[in-house]
Amino acid sequence: MKKLFLTLALLPLLFSCETIPEDNPDYPDPAYLQYAGRLTLNGVTTKAVYTPGRLVSIELTESGIYAIGRYADELGTIAYTAGAYTVSGHDYRLSGFGTISFNNSQEGFVELTIKPDEGYQQLVWATLKKADSSNKAYRAWNVEKTRVTVKGWRTISADFIGCDFKEIADFLRANGHKAPVDVPDHGIRSISLTGTETMIIAYDDGSADLNEFSLNGNVIKYTWSDNMKGFTFETEKAVISYMDGKCILTINGKIRDSSTSGSVTFMMSPYNP
């Protein structure tokens, strides 16, 4: 009898708790890690040289994506285009733009030769900042899925394959929220977090947005320079984490031109050109 009671009393001890392993994926180094950096063309930041079309900067990412900044107007607004690049010696072939040549062995002033596909060859001075490689987040990421959560009468969420702005805007409107009227008819192709602390959001149409950011632990603070792409978040803070081998980037905030607040979560995998 005593044995039976003891058996019953010990039964709960037989069951162990289920544990979920913490995610800490070990990604291989990005293919263009050694070439990554930012070239800022010298003498182009004064009002006198706000010539539309004039080159301002070239960002070369760890994953073989480049972003070129040019003045879009005489007010100093910068518009960016993005694409893929390849390297041969000191020559960097920027798809859809042309070739640039420089010695990237050390930071500081470099002599930069620019040979656009269309136009004249130029020789200019630029300042090279090489990318820091200390964080596995510093690379380009493919946006595989986007989860949008909006607060309203009830807080609701929806998942979207990739990140198509129109699709997300339709979801917001169908559920009683305002969405910006100038939502572009395309989506995000990739998000790069570079070792020069630049966030490059490359779009399907070849355009891009660049923002500076700083990474502290798993918190990203960024400055948003976008004036045209609709979903601007007023809270310039994001959180990065890893789950099931994916990188999860969550941005909380309020959408511009709307009373809607909520969050956008991107599920991302290392960029494959």
């Binding site: 039976l4 058996t7 039964l11 609701i156």
Partner: protein
């Protein structure tokens, strides 16, 4: 995992108890049913005042009842427009039971004390024919999106009991009439009335992380209240779940 744990638990008790019963020569096999579902059990006579009941009960496959006109918003984020959809409610226990029958006198009246061990779930609600928006839009609970699949959304009412994950251990207290094992009869019956302590009932549903990982997540009370007013007041009293069961026993030796 839970099923394996329950079976392991049963096997452990049986391997400990059966040799004792075989030595004494008093063991019955029982079949029965009640508010805890259909089940099978073995009963072992320990002495003239005590019998041990080891069984398994499940509501699996038993029909529930359907509320046909449950009103939900046509678009999950807009309260104005409503659509009526059916809600099917089923009892969903699936558990092993270890009970001690105590007979204070020579009559068949007895007190029952013991544990039910198994899934925490004891009620399942299925909303069907939900508007198509519910297949894409849902609730994000701790990073897990709860939404409908092809117009169907399932929620569960769980009682954690003593909250020993992954198996819920729920104490049981009751009274009854009948002796599962009698020296003078081959066939006997027992009718029992009691209650299970479920702990604080909580609603759960299957959620999916953005990476595709699935998990049963607890739906916050305020979210539930925004869908079904006063639902918490109905579920709170379900902490003590009444049970009524009837068993027919056949003495094996």
């Amino acid at each position: 995992m839970k099923r394996i744990s329950i079976l392991f638990c049963l096997a452990f008790v049986l391997t400990t108890a059966l040799p004792a019963a075989a030595q004494k020569g008093h063991l019955s096999l029982g079949l029965g049913g009640g508010t805890g579902g259909l089940g099978a059990a073995v009963a072992i006579k320990l002495d003239s005042h005590a019998q041990l009941y080891l069984g398994y009960g499940s509501m699996f496959g038993l029909p529930g009842f359907t509320l046909t006109q449950v009103s939900v918003p046509t678009h999950p984020g807009i309260p104005a427009e409503k659509t009526a959809v059916p809600l099917n409610i089923q009892l969903a226990m699936n558990e092993a039971r270890a009970l001690l029958y105590f007979y204070p006198s020579s009559s068949s009246f007895h007190f029952i004390l013991g544990f039910h061990m198994g899934t925490a779930r004891y009620l399942r609600g299925t909303l069907s024919s939900l508007p198509s928006d519910y297949n894409t839009v849902g609730l994000d609970i701790d990073g897990y999106l709860v939404k409908a699949h092809e117009g169907v959304m399932e929620v569960e009412l769980n009682g954690p009991g003593f909250a020993l994950s992954p198996v819920a251990v729920k104490p049981y207290l009751g009274i009854g009439f009948g002796r599962p094992v009698r020296d003078d009869r081959r066939v006997t019956c027992s009718i029992d009335l009691g209650f299970q302590y479920q702990g604080k009932p909580e609603w759960r549903a299957l959620g999916e992380s953005i990476t595709g990982r699935t998990k049963m997540v607890q739906i916050p009370e305020e979210t539930l209240e925004s869908i079904f007013e006063d639902i918490s007041s109905y579920t709170d009293w379900m902490a003590f779940w009444p049970t009524l069961s009837f068993h027919l026993y056949f003495k094996l030796f």
